[in-house]
């Protein structure tokens, strides 16, 4: 199907659907939504921005767009850099869901919260602090307060308890989805509430095979999610961080793996396990205003490679027990390998800073050279060191500081490995070098069976689908059923 350029008569229809004050074709406003960094360097200016408030408005907007073959790029918080924006031309509308910002229900017995797509993590954290202090909403760790719960979940991102509970998408209990033809349905046990009887999203796996996997990770290409029921997490107040210095990426990986395998034991208390190398600290300041010799960081007791455990426990005794067991396991690893991890005694302010949720930890990497890109990968935990080392070397080869962040997912079953490419975003030559680095390293990563977190449609998707042609064939068939005219975020997943 051919997609069409937005015309003024269609704009009028959108205005009737959501109200004239919530549709704009103003070029300057449209430009203000652009982004070229963090997750994606490429973005196309939308032809209009449409901001619905109600589900019925979303239905109407999609029906209008579908009727007129107008592309729709949905965004809840819009923090995926360029990837939150149109990727092909005609660009169509940016469907900004930020006005849909209600927390609709909290159920502390079934332990879920139902949110609209625009619920920001900063706001919902305050709401829970005030109203449900013993429960934590699943906010992402490392994303700023304007990130949304839903955005993180549907992108299969990181939650504050990913170390123990898996990616944010694993916490989903039910989704409400609107399709381009205006149809609305829910997933899981929530599907039975279609006739308005208020049934709960108590069970993720619904009537028959569950649809939610088609939307989690779809980057808005399959439907527009208008509500999510997502698990809330017990929020005990005995918490701390313990950190260790290591001799290599391999030591981080191997010393922690044994601990992470203690499921139904101390590993369940380790809600976040993450680490990296010392440039991860250096590049949070401007290149010309921060020491670049490791010796300086060594004097601050920062190891060349380090990792930390965020521990949550129901009592101080339990917390002390977990800390003791972690220390014992680290010592055991040292005895076995002759390469003992060194505990990094953190100042209470460092501990408090690390435990903040949501936080701004990932934001200031633009200070170092003026721009940055996260190229994020999933690997088996015990491949994380190899990937980290490989990427470090490649980043140096391409003239970038070797900045690597790594974290455990679901008790060390998987790792998220995130090279942070700090570059001068005012220099087109450097931007091209970032793309070249991404291309070369992605070929290597896909050869090893590793998976990109937010695949770049120009670099990652072709490599990815080349290795999974049959999967791709059926995925496209599903897309054809759900979105026959292909209006939803065209090009985002490489189709």
């Amino acid at each position: 199907m051919t997609l069409r350029t937005l015309t003024s008569d269609v704009v009028v229809k959108f205005e009737k659907a959501v109200g004239i004050d919530f549709v704009t074709t103003n070029k300057v406003i449209r430009y203000s939504y652009l982004s070229k960094g963090i997750m994606g360097l490429d973005a196309i200016l939308p032809d209009a921005v449409v901001r619905p408030k109600e589900v019925s408005e979303v239905q109407e907007v999609l029906q209008i767009a579908d009727e007129h073959h107008i592309p729709v790029s949905p965004a809840s918080g819009g923090l995926s850099g360029g990837f939150a924006l149109p990727q092909t031309e005609p660009a169509g509308i940016l469907l900004d869901l930020s006005r849909m910002d209600r927390v609709l229900e909290v159920d502390i017995d079934n332990r879920y919260v139902i949110v609209e797509p625009g619920v920001q993590t900063g706001k919902v954290w305050a709401y829970f602090r005030k109203n449900y202090p013993d429960w934590a909403p699943p906010v992402p760790d490392g994303a700023p307060p304007s990130a949304t719960i839903l955005g993180d979940a549907i992108e299969r991102g990181f939650s504050l308890v990913t170390g123990a509970f898996g990616p944010q998408a694993d916490l989903i209990m039910g989704l409400e989805v609107v399709l381009p033809n205006g149809d609305l349905f829910r997933t899981g046990s929530w599907a039975l509430s279609e006739k308005g009887n208020g049934f709960k999203p108590f069970y993720r796996w619904g009537p028959g095979p569950n649809f939610d996997g088609l939307f989690l990770g779809s980057q808005g290409t399959m439907g527009v999610i208008t509500k999510a029921a997502i698990r809330i997490i017990p929020h005990p107040h005995a918490k701390t961080i313990v950190a260790y210095g290591h001799s290599s990426f391999e030591a981080i990986q191997d010393a922690t793996l044994n601990i992470l395998k203690y499921e139904m034991g101390i590993a369940d208390n380790l809600v976040m396990v993450q680490g990296g190398n010392w440039p991860l600290i250096m590049t949070r300041w401007p290149e010309l205003k921060v020491p670049k010799d490791y010796d300086f960081y060594k004097k601050l007791n920062i190891s060349e490679w380090w990792q930390n455990f965020e521990i949550w426990a129901h009592s101080d005794e339990e917390l002390e027990f977990v800390k003791k067991r972690v220390a014992e396991e680290m010592e055991h690893y040292g005895d076995k390998t002759g390469n003992p991890p060194v505990e990094w005694k953190l100042h209470p302010k460092q501990i408090a800073s690390r435990m903040k949720k949501p936080n701004l930890i990932a934001v200031p990497y633009a200070l170092y050279r003026g721009g940055f890109l996260f190229i994020t990968w999933y690997t088996p935990w015990n491949d994380s060191a190899e990937m980290s080392r490989y990427y470090s070397n490649k980043m140096v080869e391409y003239g970038f500081p070797p900045v690597i962040w790594v974290a455990s997912i679901d008790h060390g079953r998987q790792a998220i490995v995130m090279p942070i490419v700090c570059f001068d975003s005012t220099d087109p030559t450097r931007v091209e070098q970032v793309r070249a680095l991404d291309q070369v390293t992605s070929e290597y990563c896909y050869e090893h069976g590793w998976l990109n977190y937010r695949p770049n449609p120009r670099i990652h998707s072709p490599l990815m689908w080349d290795r999974a042609p049959t999967y791709f064939k059926y995925l496209k068939a599903m897309k054809q059923i759900l979105d026959p005219k292909g209006i939803l975020h065209p090009g985002r997943l490489g189709f």
């Binding site: 070029k27 406003i29 203000s32 939504y33 982004s35 921005v49 819009g78 005030k130 307060p145």
Partner: protein
């Protein structure tokens, strides 16, 4: 070349993280003061009045940085898109909250003001009200279109004019023509503390409203007039937050030279006098009071402080703590004075210091968008009410004026009062 080109490296640092939407963007666990009239004062809250009110990203700093980038890259053109840019840029109060929240330390206020100046350079028409105040400031030496000779009508005593004094009091246009209580209280307190000072009778408008609205060339005329007038003073004291900010921050940038005199705001000046006992509030004041930090006196000054310290720093990682300490000391000045008032029960609002919520009056907004200005101020009045305070203290003529407008609109029972008017009654 546009003025914003100078800030290209900083503008390109914006990653659309949108932390600039909030107050306390890095303090999710900050203990609040509870819920009041449906607003939860807890953890991270909205902090950008324009984004909060108008919703579109273009009104937030993140959007503006991308608009600026569009201008630099030629995708947006000042001659073709100028009026649309103006209409999105001018409702910004340039309160500076975004600059405080920005982890990538983008000098947002400087960039927004530079882009406003670029619009003027490109002959994009000013808003009518801004044109009026700009032209009148140059013609009459004040933006209120008042005769210059009436500037000192508030003066009750000849002894406030002392040609040999080393300390000068720069009154500013609003306290000279509109808010005599501020000028009279300030002068009276100086007299009570036996300060050897003189009111600067030849002063002209500092240029703040012009600089905030992009009228740099007109502002430069006023800067030149002022700097010629009172070179003899070693110290110039300001009771107006906007004038103080303009002299302290803008004048050295505009002239390329340090000021030939020291500048102090009355919060700093009187804090020293109260701390040393030269001023001693003896009368009890048995009321509950809260304090509103004016943006020009608070955030704009600490941001400048931070920029200066970072400019000199060779190691930001180590020096950041010193900056935080200096900021905290600056915000303590009015609070130190309040703490010395016998009988007063002081309760802080939730959003304070560098995270203070703007009153809505600055950046040309009170003139250009009066409804938005007052609506923003109503939000601040509600926050003050949430503390249970009877009195909302501040010390900025613009905040004072706009907060009173909000009290009327919200039919609030809270009283707005200038800190030094109160102090003068108690000393």
């Amino acid at each position: 070349m546009t003025r914003i080109e100078k800030y290209k490296k900083e503008i390109y640092r914006c990653i659309q993280c949108r932390s600039c939407y909030f107050a306390y963007s890095g303090e999710p666990d900050r203990e609040g003061i509870g819920e009041h009239e449906g607003v939860l004062y807890e953890g991270i809250m909205d902090g950008c009045p324009a984004q909060h009110t108008f919703g579109w990203n273009a009104y937030a700093n993140a959007g503006k940085m991308w608009i600026a980038r569009g201008v630099i890259e030629g995708d947006l053109k000042l001659d073709e898109d100028g009026e649309e840019i103006r209409d999105l840029l001018m409702p910004c109060i340039v309160c500076g909250n975004c600059q405080i929240q920005c982890e990538n330390k983008i000098p947002t206020v400087d960039i927004i003001e530079a882009l406003r100046a670029d619009l003027v350079d490109a002959n994009v028409p000013l808003l009518d009200k801004h044109e009026f105040l700009g032209s009148k400031a140059v013609e009459m030496n004040n933006p209120y279109n008042e005769p210059h000779e009436k500037r000192t009508d508030w003066l009750p005593f000849d002894e406030f004019r002392n040609k040999n004094a080393e300390i000068g009091y720069y009154v500013g246009c609003t306290a000279s023509y509109r808010q005599f209580k501020v000028s009279q209280s300030t002068a009276s307190l100086m007299k009570k503390a036996n300060v050897d000072f003189s009111v600067i009778t030849d002063e002209v408008c500092c240029g703040s409203p012009l600089l905030r609205t992009g009228q740099i060339e007109r502002a430069n005329i006023l800067v030149e007039r002022n700097l010629k007038q009172f070179k003899q003073f070693k110290t110039v004291v300001f009771s107006c937050a906007g004038c103080y900010r303009t002299f302290k921050v803008d004048y050295p940038k505009l002239t390329g030279k340090p000021l030939p005199f020291e500048v102090k705001h009355t919060v700093e000046f009187f804090d020293e006098l109260v701390s040393s006992g030269q001023l001693n509030p003896k009368q009890p004041f048995n009321k509950v009071a809260t304090w509103h930090d004016p943006c020009h006196l608070g955030r704009h000054i600490v941001v400048d402080m931070e920029q200066e310290m970072l400019k000199k720093s060779e190691n930001w990682l180590m020096d950041e703590r010193k900056i935080k300490k200096a900021m905290s000391e600056w915000f303590a000045h009015p609070r130190n004075i309040i703490a010395k008032i016998p009988g007063i029960e002081f309760k802080e609002m939730y959003r304070v210091n560098e995270n203070s919520y703007c009153c809505g009056a600055g950046g040309g907004v009170k003139a250009g968008y009066p409804d938005f200005a007052v609506d923003t101020s109503v939000e601040r009045i509600k926050e003050a009410e949430a503390t249970g305070a009877d009195i909302l203290l501040t010390t900025c003529s613009f905040c004072y004026y706009n907060l009173w407008d909000a009290v009327k609109k919200a039919e609030s029972e809270i009283q707005v009062m200038d800190l030094f008017e109160l102090l003068n009654q108690l000393v």
